[in-house]
Amino acid sequence: MNLFLAALACLAAGTVLPALLYTRPRTALAVALACAWGGALLGLPPAVAAMLGAPALQVPVGWTTPLGVFTMGLDPLSGFFLVPVLVVTALAALAGHHRLTSDIGSRRAVMAACFFNALTASMALVLVARDAVFFLVGWELMSLTSYFLVTYEDDSAEVQRAGFVYLVAAHVGAAFLLVFFTLLAGRAGSFLFDAFAAAGPSVREPLLLLSLALLGFGTKAGIAPLHVWLPRAHPAAPGHVSAVMSGIMIKMGIYGLLRALSFLGPPSPGWGYVFLALGAVSAIGGVVFALAQQDLKRMLAYSSVENVGIVCLAIGAALLGRAYGNAALAALGFAGALLHVWNHAAFKSLLFLAAGETVHATGERDLNKLGGLMRPMPWTGALFLAGSVAICGLPPFNGFVSEWLMYWGFFAAGPALPGQPAAVCLGAAVALAMVGALAVACFGRAFGVAFLGHPRSRTPLHPHEADAGSRAAMLALGAACAALGAFPAPALRACRAAVEGLTPGLPSALPVLDAAGTTAARVGVFALALVCAAAALFVMRDLLLRGRAVSRGPTWGCGYERPAPRMQYSGSSFVQPLLELFRDVVPRRVSREPVEGLFPGRASLTSHPVDPAEHRLFRPAFTSLPELLARFRWMQRVPVQAQLLYILVGLIALLALGLGGVPWAR
C-alpha cells in the first residue's frame, strides 16, 4: 500500500510540477512524462499483488471529511482494473509526448500533460476508494480532468460542443450515482463500502438501486442508449487521450457496475435479463453504427459501445448463473467480462493511437478521402491491422480468448439452466456471433479503405510515419494483444481472484475456471501453430517464386483503360448493402440531386447516419426541459418573505417524511 501511495504521489507531482515549470515547457513535458512512468512503475507491483489475491488491505487515510474518513483499499477487483489503467496511461503518455512537444508554442500543451497525469491519478483513486464520498470525489475529478483533455483544441466549435455534451453527460450520470450512494448509506448508516455490503441484501428496492447504478455507471461506460457523448467526445480529443478514454476510462463504468453488484446482494434472474438486453442492444447497435460512420475516430468510438455491450452480455450471463446457482456460467461469464476489459484496453488504445497518428499525419478523418496509407506509414498500418484483427475477436490475437470464454458459458453452461434462461443464453450467443461477423465487415472496411489502395482525396495528403515514441507505444500494445492471445492461461489466472470475489456463495466456480485455463492454453498453442503454418506457407510460395518471372503491373480495370483513384470502392459504398439490411436500425438523412434530363447537370448524393438515441431521445428531452421548467417560474417571482416560507414548508415536509418513515430511507 505504501508503494501505491508513492505511485499516487508521483502522479500528483506529475500534475503539479509541470504546471509550475510552465515557463520552460520542454522540461515541464519531460517531467510530466517521467512522472507518468514513475507512477505506473511504482503502482504496478501492489496492483498485481492485489489482483493475484494478496490479502486485501484497507487503510483509512488520515483526513476527516464531513461524512467520514477517506478510506482506501486494494482487493483483486481493484487490482485487476488498476493494471490496465497504469500500463495503458504510461504508454499513451509516451505516444502523446511528441504531439504535445510539437505544440509547445501554446501553453495548453503543458496543461494537457498535467491533466493527463491527474486523470490517471483520479482513475486510480476511483479504483481504490472504499467509501462513497471518496469514490465520488475521484469520479468527479476523473470527469473534469478528461473534460479539459477533450477540449484540448478549444478553438474549434465542434470540439467545444463535444466537450459540453460530455460535461453534461458526465454530471447527469454523477447525479444518479449521488442518489445511489445516498440511498445505500441511508440503509447502512455509513458511507463505507464494507458497510454497504454488510447491510445485507436489500429486499425492498433492489430494482431502484440497480437502475440508478445502471444509469450512473452506464453513462460512463457508454451502454446504449446512454452512449451519446461517446461518439462526440472521443473523436474530439487528441489521439492519446481518446486511447485512454476509450480503452480505460469507460471501463471505470464497468468497474462501478461490478462493485455496485457486490452491494446489492444475491441477484435475481431479472438482473441478468436486464444486462443481457442492454448488452445485446449496445453490442449490435454499436457495431451497426460503427459500420455507418465515415469518420475514422467516430467509428472507433461506436465500436467501444459495441465492446462495452459484449462485456454487459457476459455480466448478464454471469448474473443468470449466480441467480440459478450455476457456478460454471457465473465463473465463465465474469471471467469473460473481465478478460474482455483487458483485451479491449489493449486493442482499442492501439487502434485509437494508430487512428490518431493517421489523422495527425493526413489532417483527414473521413474514410472516404483516406487510402493507401500503408506505404507512407508502414508501422502504423501494420499495427492498425493487428488491432483490427484483435478487435474482431479473431485468433491468434487476444479478442478471441474472451469471446471464446463467453461462448463456452453460453453453449455449455447455459443449457443446464431451465428452459427460458437457457434459450436467452443461446440467443446471446447468436447475438455475439452476429456482432463478430459485423465487426469483421467494419474493421475489414476501415483497414482496407484507410490503408490500402490509393488515396481517395483530390487534395494530396502528405502523410508521414508516426514518431518513435508513438511507434514504441503502439508496438507494446500490439505485443500485448499477441501475447494475451498466445498465452491466455496467465491472464485467466490473473482474473481468478477477482472472479472468486464476484461469485460469493458459489465455491465450485474456480475449478471451472481452471479447466477453462487448461483448454485456453491449448487455444494459445493452436494460435501459435497457426502463425507458424501461415509463415511456412509464405516461405513456400516465396521459394516457389524464386527464379520465376515476378512483375508488377497496373490493377486490372476490367477492360477500362484509365481508372482513377476516385473510382475505388469507398468506405460508404463498402457498407451500403449492410446498411440496407439494417435500414430500420440506422436511419439515414439523405439529400440527393438526381441525374435528370438528356444533358444532366450536377448530380450528388449525400447521406449521414442519424443516431436515434440522440435525435429521438435526448434532443427532444433536453429541448423540452427549459419549457417545462419555465412553467414553474412564477414560484420565483415572489417576495423574500414568501421564499422564506418555501424553506419553512420544505423543512416541515422533510421532518414529516422523516418521522413517518420513507420506504427507501432505511
Binding site: G371, G372, M374, R375, C392, L394, P395, W404, Y407, W408, F411, A412, P415, G419, A422, A423, A429, V430, A433, M434, G436, A437, V440, A441, G444, R445, G448, L452, G453, H454, T519, R522, V523, L530, A534, A535, L537, F538, M540, R541, L544, L545, R548, A549, V550, S551, P554, T555, W556, G557, C558, P563, M567, Q568, Y569, S573, F574, V575, P577, L581
Partner: protein, 302 residues
C-alpha cells in the same frame, strides 16, 4: 500423427470435390465435362507460374493467401474424419472453427482491398455482407447440435445422437442439415448466392475478389476454397449420418457423404439460377430461422 493423416486427406481430397461438382454439372447440361482430376491440374499449373502484382499492392497481397490457406486448413482439422473424434478436438473448438473461417474471410477482404480496384472492393463488400447473415445461421445450427448433445466440441456434438429422443434428434438434425446446406452454398460461393462460372465481374462475389491475384498466391486461394467445400460437405454429411465408433466403414461412409454433397452442389447449380442480390438475405435469414427452430426443438427435447 492422426492430425497429419487428416491434414493429408484434407489436402488430397479437397480438389476432387470440386471436380465431382463440376462433372455432375456438365452431365446435367449434356456435356462430358472436364476430367475429375482437372482441379489438381489447374492448381499444379498455378503453383508452377510466376506472379504479377498490382503496382498498388502492398505486402498484404503476399501475406494474405498463406493466412487464408492456413486458417481454412486449421478450421477443418476440428471436423472429425473416420475416427469419432477429430485429432485436435477440445471443448469449445466449434467457436475456434467458426472464427478461423472468419479470419480467412478477413484476410480475403484485405487482399481484395489491396489492389485498389472498385470491382474487388465490391466483391469484398458483398463477401462481408453475406458473411454477416451466414454466421448467425452457422452458430444457431451448431448451437442446436450442442444443446442436443450437451457437448461443445465439434466432434462431440456430431457424434452424439443418443440421449435425446429419436423424434427430437431427427427433427433437429434435419433442420440443421438444411440450414447448413444453405450456409455451405453461401460460404463456398455456389449457385443461388454466387456464380462461380460467370464472366461478368459485376455479378461475381468470390471470383472478383481474387482478380488481381496470380501464380502460387492464386493457387493458395483456390485451394483454400476447395478445402472449404470439402470440409463443409464433411461436416454436413456427419450431421445427416452421425459418425460411429469403427474406422474403415465410417471413413468410407463419410467420404461417400462428401461425394454426395459435392454431387448435390452440382445438381443445385444446374437447376437454379443465381438469385438477385436483394433476395440473398431472404435465403440466408431463412437458414437462420430454420436453425432457430432446430434450436427450440433441441431445447424442448432435452
Amino acid at each position: 500423427m492422426s492430425a497429419l493423416a487428416q491434414l493429408g486427406l484434407l489436402l488430397a481430397l479437397a480438389p476432387l470435390t470440386q471436380g465431382v461438382a463440376q462433372r455432375v454439372k456438365s452431365w446435367m447440361a449434356g456435356r462430358r465435362g472436364p476430367a475429375l482430376l482437372q482441379p489438381y491440374r489447374d492448381l499444379l499449373r498455378l503453383f508452377r507460374k510466376g506472379a504479377v502484382y498490382s503496382t498498388t499492392a502492398t505486402w498484404i497481397s503476399q501475406m494474405a493467401p498463406p493466412v487464408i490457406m492456413a486458417a481454412t486448413l486449421g478450421a477443418f482439422l476440428f471436423v472429425p474424419l473416420g475416427a469419432p473424434r477429430a485429432p485436435l478436438a477440445f471443448p469449445g473448438d466449434l467457436v475456434l472453427f467458426a472464427y478461423l473461417l472468419a479470419l480467412a474471410r478477413f484476410a480475403l477482404i484485405a487482399l481484395a482491398m489491396d489492389a485498389g480496384s472498385s470491382f474487388e472492393g465490391m466483391g469484398a463488400s458483398r463477401e462481408a455482407w453475406i458473411a454477416a447473415m451466414a454466421e448467425p445461421a452457422l452458430f444457431l445450427a451448431l448451437g442446436a447440435l450442442a444443446v442436443m448433445s450437451g457437448e461443445i466440441s465439434l466432434s462431440g456434438l456430431l457424434a452424439s445422437g443418443s440421449g435425446a429422443s429419436l423424434y427430437g434428434a431427427g427433427l433437429t438434425r434435419a433442420l440443421v442439415a438444411v440450414a447448413l446446406w444453405l450456409v455451405l452454398l453461401a460460404e463456398t460461393s455456389r449457385m443461388p448466392v454466387d456464380d462461380p462460372a460467370t464472366h461478368l465481374e459485376l455479378t461475381m462475389v468470390h471470383e472478383v475478389m481474387i482478380l488481381d491475384v496470380s501464380g502460387p498466391d492464386l493457387a493458395l486461394c483456390e485451394y483454400a476454397n476447395a478445402v472449404k467445400l470439402y470440409g463443409l460437405s464433411l461436416l454436413l454429411s456427419q450431421v445427416v449420418v452421425p459418425p460411429g465408433a469403427g474406422w474403415g466403414a465410417h471413413l468410407l461412409a463419410q467420404l461417400a457423404g462428401v461425394g454426395a454433397c459435392a454431387a448435390l452442389v452440382g445438381v443445385t447449380e444446374s437447376l437454379t439460377a443465381r438469385v438477385a442480390m436483394r433476395r440473398v438475405p431472404q435465403l440466408l435469414i431463412g437458414a437462420s430461422v430454420l436453425a432457430g427452430v432446430a434450436l427450440v426443438a433441441a431445447l424442448g427435447a432435452r
